[in-house]
Symmetry: C2
Subunit: 258 residues, 2 copies
């Protein structure tokens, strides 16, 4: 595996046994040499983790199609950190995370293990992409995988500025029903979380964060609008969270030590 | 505790027993009614978590000064979600997270339990602030706590736009040695993580993500520059991670389904 092809790291947050990972690996293998290093279990909504208080295992495993992969006890972002720090010996040209079962739109991005794995790569100035499919059901990952590989190929050719990742969301439609591809901005999610209080067999209360799936505001030009209207959404994401338009207002507050 | 004062929720990521939490609670109690709901253990570098795959406990505990507080098995962002979803009955006007032992500068913000707790509030359009002290040692939290309370008071008075949080970093200096307060943008962190491979008593390898503390690029006007030069840094943070300046470039790629 030391060809002249680029080298792609594939990871995810649904865990090493997820069918979305396999579909993504297969599609990427058409255009690159691929190493898979993914979490041993599901890390949905786990956020951007750097595991420093406990050690991490890395094990060789065999995927459902008989190919070799690496699995780790760490989070998705840990998997990327481990790979870039040397667990994977060959230099990595591109990191692709997914294909997540469930969209990662709007404010989902800071919660999402899929997206924060790609953030981890972007922080190390390795170009990266997160890919999610807008369904929670049994899914056909093939159209999303095919698009992801073609976008990876283009991105490797054209390059991305340092610190940028692409957040890709694909509607769950047959390939020929997908209307096209929109470059989008992040939309506004509407979370509908509800507190569910239960009582355990010993009479003590405990809580679930429950409630229906989030919706979102379908402003034209946003990721939420694109997927809701049958388009693949590609959002360029950076890690400068500064609210630049507030800097002046806050400076006018004339803050000082009390 | 149903006075005319505003109601502040205090949380953190170092855990309910951390002295930085107590200092922050005391300072906020000078200007508001305070409820403490914080994780039962340390969640450093845990990221933006929404715990949905397991239930969460909330317990009444007594802090070192004899006051009552709530502790949860969830992450810092879960603590905020639980409080806003109704575990805390009274409406919350402001969320303050900290005082973290260790700065949260530049790219630290997406990893940080302290900052992602404040993000959780901002996503629900509750104004919020994360406060961190730039030391890993035994620390005097008093100057940072005093500044945090005064900034909370001003923010409650003036208001913040929806979806905004303030990321506050305080240099570890005596109050009279602090040079002033700078409104800053996020700087660039330089992580120096190293992979440490060890072998367990049964001959199997495991890995630590180790290495020295991160440094950063001391560009004037950034959070990293301010703290390094003896100023308190206040960075307005929003959750629109769109790289707006790349939208046009990517649109020119003319992406489509392959």
């Amino acid at each position: 595996m030391n060809s002249n092809k680029p080298h792609i790291l594939v990871t995810n947050d649904d865990g090493i046994r997820a069918p979305g990972l396999l579909a993504l690996k297969d599609a990427c293998a058409e255009i690159a040499d691929v190493t898979v290093l993914a979490p041993s279990h599901n890390w949905s909504a786990s956020g951007h983790v750097k595991t420093m208080h406990k050690p991490l295992r890395v094990d060789r495993v065999t995927l459902a199609d008989g190919t070799e992969a690496l699995s780790t006890t760490g989070a998705p972002s840990d998997a990327v950190a481990l790979a870039l720090l040397g667990v994977v010996e060959r230099d990595i040209d591109f990191v692709v995370s997914g294909i997540n079962r469930g969209a990662n739109l709007g404010h989902d991005v800071t919660y999402s293990g899929t997206v924060t794995a790609a953030m981890e790569a972007a922080i190390s100035n390795v170009p990266a992409m997160a890919v999610s499919l807008n369904t929670r059901e049994q899914a056909d990952f093939e159209p999303a995988a095919r698009f992801a590989a073609s976008l990876a190929e283009q991105t490797l050719e054209r390059g991305l500025p340092d610190g940028i990742l692409l957040n890709v969301n694909v509607p769950h439609l047959p390939a020929d029903a997908i209307k096209g591809v929109c470059v989008t901005r992040m939309g506004l999610r509407i979370y509908r979380d509800e507190l569910l209080k239960r009582v355990d067999p010993r009479g003590k209360p405990y809580y679930w964060i429950g409630g229906p799936e989030p919706t979102g505001i379908e402003d034209e030009g946003t990721d939420i609008w694109a997927v809701a209207n049958g388009y693949i959404s590609v959002t360029p994401i950076h890690l400068d969270l500064t609210a630049h338009d507030l800097l002046e207002t806050l400076a006018d507050w004339k803050l000082g030590m009390p």
